[in-house]
């Protein structure tokens, strides 16, 4: 290739794509195969990004920059081709080069598998944060796990979810750079030998451990403009030749291969989120594996430039994305105290000054606890360290509150009882200098309820940073027509400064602008209608109101509340008690954890309700209910730009922030939601005329729970609207051929079971849906509100969130 083949010129791009077609893929040019073109394009971009990784690293080195390491069990990165093209500024050029070869870039983009290395919001947040850090020129890097199988692929058979393995690497990922030269060893299992050191002091020795090898795979993360390229390092588990050769030498070939397979199993699969309660050993091993590999790598990088640990916390910030990586506290202590022989107090100061913890949930069942007996077996030395941290911590608490035994019991890292458990969130909080919630309401609840004792002890450690999303993926890439219209009006500075969208407000009343805005929405709805027709086998009307509820299926997110409203509306229409004025398409999507029976039943219910409604001739095109299978990032990018109404109806006090809500807002959907998570701030930003808020508030629910005053049967008896809906579950209205199928829903209410307060919110939800219908009929007014949602979404950029993390927690600066 020519010397300038990495240039951003048409000739250079074409040359490198042709080169990879011939030399990397062994294909004759010109090729007409989309997959070939996808790989050749990806390789050409990767060449450019790897070169820029080196340039970026030199810049960081010269600046002596402090670095941020973001530890997360999930990075839901989805597809990377489109993002990389946009961020490198090569999209148009690449489209033209492909077009000259008779290749449609959209077809090429469809060849890429989604990297589904996450369950939902938490993993997607991590991916958005990486994009923002690179765009803001912040030396920020991700550490995660190289799962061979991402979150399962969802298929639906007769309304029942079937899980299929998601082998996203089946045809390998062109983005990854495998780095076996930087592999690390991870000791695990074994026992503690209690010994004395040469000075006669107690010296525990960790012996008889086994070893897993951590093999890094780096994925470049390019910021917008292409100047800064950071990386995401994913560790895959492997066996070590060193450690297995002995078995081969013993002549036991099969046992040696088994050992190899057993090591590799560790990173085989991402656990679906709602299966984590059962305390699976493999999940603990995964969490330990992540932190052990990451911290060894972080320390190795630091020591390349430093002779001691004096400047560690000035040079390194580590953010734990939720409780899963909280073993990082114990692992960093182990490294410093055991392997680098620092005194405990110095090591502890460094650890606390380096680590920071983001909490993502207030659901107590999701705050991890691991049995002491399991930790003792899997990582015995870490358990010792956790005990030591706890002993010192509780001594501090006792010195402040000497007579409050109950407080000490509550704050302890160890939950006493028949089966002692380690409270991982407590470990994370004690070992961090910062603890943050992910929305104002969530942080308030953490400080007031879940972590009130810790807040009382260390109020200065608590901070709220509302989540955000990257507008590069969620508008520029996923809704290019709207992005184009915005740039035409106000320029493209919004791409890196989302608050600029405010400048668009003067256009909100402009009929011409409104027409174009509506036209784009209509085109997006048409595109989605085609996907619906192809994947859900339902024909929908693009002129209907697209009412969308897509997210993980969970009771607290209340897909059931949405379905109950649809049932109510359906019954009203067929009974002649309502004349519909707006055609509606109700769109659902989301995966249920494989072992979560209720969530899977909800999917079945959505299908059955859809089947009845969609085939009811009396409704014609007035109402449709569809469930789009296999909800994932690339599908979200098609659904969100087409939505008119965004359903964010979790029970108040349960959703930490939500980020789907922000994506819809940015794309001009109006939100109907409870005062939960970031909805509260969306209300503040958009203004109450541009969002539909309903339902009980978190405090009201808390009070009802505390006083135990909520009785579902009272609502059932008192309100006919509720009764007619609930009775359909008893009367098999939506399961005539499988009687009794949804009886469980009826029975729950009759047995006063409604953990997520569906019935108290249903009436108000029905009323607000009627208001929405009325408002939707006023096209100009609705469009204006939709535009305001776009223009007022600036706060919800992940750039703003990352700037806050950088300033408030990490104390890092951009390296321009």
């Amino acid at each position: 290739m020519t010397r300038n083949y990495l240039d951003n010129s048409r000739a250079a791009l074409k040359e490198s794509m042709d080169y990879h077609l011939r030399c990397s893929l062994c294909r004759e040019t010109p090729s007409k195969d989309y997959r070939d073109h996808f790989l050749a394009t990806a390789f050409s971009l990767r060449d450019r990004m790897t070169e820029k990784i080196l340039q970026t690293e030199r810049r960081y080195q010269e600046a002596g920059a402090k670095r941020v390491y973001y530890l997360s069990m999930e990075f839901l990165i989805g597809r990377l081709l489109g993002d990389s093209l946009y961020n490198l500024g090569l999209f148009d050029l690449c489209r033209d080069v492909l077009s000259e070869a008779g290749i449609d870039i959209d077809e090429v983009r469809e060849q890429e598998n989604d990297a589904g290395l996450g369950n939902g919001g938490l993993g997607r947040l991590a991916a958005c944060f990486l994009d923002s850090m690179a765009t803001l020129d912040i030396p920020g890097f991700g550490y995660g796990i190289h799962y061979e199988y991402g979150l399962f692929k969802q298929e639906v058979d007769n309304g029942y979810q079937k899980e299929k393995p998601d082998n996203w690497l089946a045809e390998f990922s062109p983005w990854e750079i495998k780095r076996p030269d930087e592999k690390c060893i991870v000791p695990i299992y074994g026992r503690i030998e209690h010994f004395q050191d040469r000075a006669g002091e107690y010296n525990p020795m960790w012996l008889d451990w086994k070893v897993i090898m951590g093999i890094p795979f780096d994925i470049p993360v390019v910021g917008y403009g292409g100047k800064t390229v950071n990386w995401l390092r994913l560790y895959g588990a492997g066996s070590s030749t060193d450690f297995d050769i002995q078995i081969f030498n013993e002549g036991d070939y099969f046992r040696a291969v088994e050992q190899k397979v057993s090591s590799e199993t560790i990173t085989k699969m991402l656990y679906p989120r709602d299966t984590l309660k059962s305390g699976k050993e493999l999940r603990l091993v995964q969490e330990y594996f992540l932190v052990a590999c990451s911290l060894r790598d972080i320390v190795r990088r630091y020591l390349k430039d430093h002779g001691d640990f004096d400047r560690f916390s000035d040079s390194v910030a580590i953010q734990m994305n939720d409780t899963h990586p909280s073993l990082a506290v114990a692992e960093l202590m182990r490294l410093l105290v055991d392997e680098y022989a620092l005194p405990w107090d110095s090591a502890w100061e460094i650890t606390q000054r380096t680590m920071a913890y983001t909490n993502h949930t207030i659901l107590s069942e999701a705050l991890e606890k691991w049995p002491v007996s399991l930790l003792e077996r899997v990582i015995p030395r870490h358990l010792q360290i956790i005990y030591e941290i706890n002993s010192r911590f509780l001594a501090t608490v006792a010195s402040l509150h000497p007579s409050d035994i109950d407080l000490i019991r509550r704050m302890s890292l160890i939950e006493e009882g028949e089966n002692k458990q380690v409270r991982m969130a407590h470990l994370a909080m004690v070992g961090s200098h910062s603890i943050n919630g992910v929305s104002a309401l969530h942080t308030e609840i953490l400080m007031k309820n879940n972590f009130s004792d810790f807040h009382a002890l260390w109020p200065e450690r608590f901070v709220s940073i509302t989540n955000g999303i990257t507008q590069r993926r969620w508008l520029l890439k996923s809704n290019p027509q709207l992005a184009g219209l915005i740039s035409e009006k106000i320029g493209d500075s919004w791409i890196t400064d989302l608050a600029q969208l405010k400048r668009l407000e003067s256009c909100a009343d402009d009929p011409d602008f409104q027409d174009r805005f509506r036209g784009i929405k209509r085109a997006n709805k048409e595109a989605l209608s085609r996907i619906i027709s192809r994947t859900a086998w339902v024909s929908v009307n693009p002129d209907s109101l697209f009412d969308v509820h897509v997210k993980r299926i969970h009771e607290y997110k209340r897909q059931l509340l949405k379905i109950m409203h649809i049932i109510y509306e359906y019954l009203q229409i067929v009974r002649g008690e309502k004349t519909p004025t707006v055609a509606k398409t109700y769109i659902f999507g989301g995966k249920a954890a494989p072992g979560y029976w209720v969530a899977k039943q909800i999917i079945k219910l959505i299908h059955n309700v859809g089947q009845v409604i969609n085939s009811d001739k009396r409704l014609q095109d007035i109402m449709k209910v569809v469930f789009l299978p296999d909800y994932r990032v690339s599908l979200a990018e098609k659904i969100i730009p087409a939505a008119d109404l965004s359903e964010q109806i979790s029970m108040a006090g349960t959703e930490a922030s939500g980020t789907g809500n922000m994506k819809f807002m940015l794309n001009g959907a109006l939100t109907v939601g409870t005062l939960d998570g970031a909805n509260v701030e969306m209300l503040q930003e958009s203004g109450e005329d541009n969002i539909f808020i309903f339902g009980l508030k978190a405090g009201e629910i808390e009070e009802m729970q505390r006083a135990n005053t909520y009785r579902p049967t009272e609502y059932y008896r008192s309100y006919p609207e509720i009764r007619i809906v609930v009775d359909t579950f008893r009367d098999n209205v939506f399961c005539p051929s499988e009687p009794g199928l949804f009886q469980w829903i009826y029975s729950r209410f009759m047995h006063e079971e409604d953990t997520y307060f569906h019935l108290p919110d249903l009436l108000e939800y029905i009323r607000i849906q009627e208001k929405i219908e009325e408002e939707y009929r006023d096209t100009a007014s609705w469009t204006k509100k939709a535009i305001f949602n776009v223009t007022r979404s600036g706060k919800f950029s992940s750039d703003r969130a990352i700037s806050e993390y950088a300033g408030l927690i990490w104390k890092v600066e951009a390296v321009k």
Binding site: Q196, L207, D208, E339
Partner: protein
């Protein structure tokens, strides 16, 4: 497993002539060390200059030898390569054993403890 041994005064110097002490060789290493200790060798230098890898069974065998010597003897280690040293640090064995850079220093250290 090949173990070279020679005596300097009452100090027994043991030098494994293998690159690895692992599950395949640890038992034999432990047995030979035990035999020599049982024969009255109470001051031992373990020269690891040839060894570039010790797994946890090998580390366990060295700890066993130290225990076998008990309080009336000593086992010092010398000429440890960095790969092996990192495993000593991981287990905290480096705090239990005297680890010296050469055989001469190791012998000298034992002599000073007379």
């Amino acid at each position: 497993m090949q173990l070279h041994q020679n005596k300097m005064g009452d100090v027994l110097i043991v030098r494994p002539l293998e690159r690895r002490i692992d599950a395949a060789t640890a038992t034999e290493f432990k047995e030979k060390m035990s035999e020599w200790i049982g024969a009255g060798n109470r001051r031992i230098v373990l020269n690891l200059s040839e060894v570039d890898f010790i797994d946890s069974s090998g580390l366990g065998a060295i700890v066993s030898s130290l225990k076998k010597i008990g309080n009336d003897g000593d086992l010092v280690i010398c000429s440890v390569r960095e790969t092996v040293m990192s495993l000593f640090r991981l287990t905290r064995m480096n705090r239990v054993f005297d680890i010296l850079s050469s055989e001469e220093e190791a012998i000298g250290a034992l002599s000073r403890r007379l």
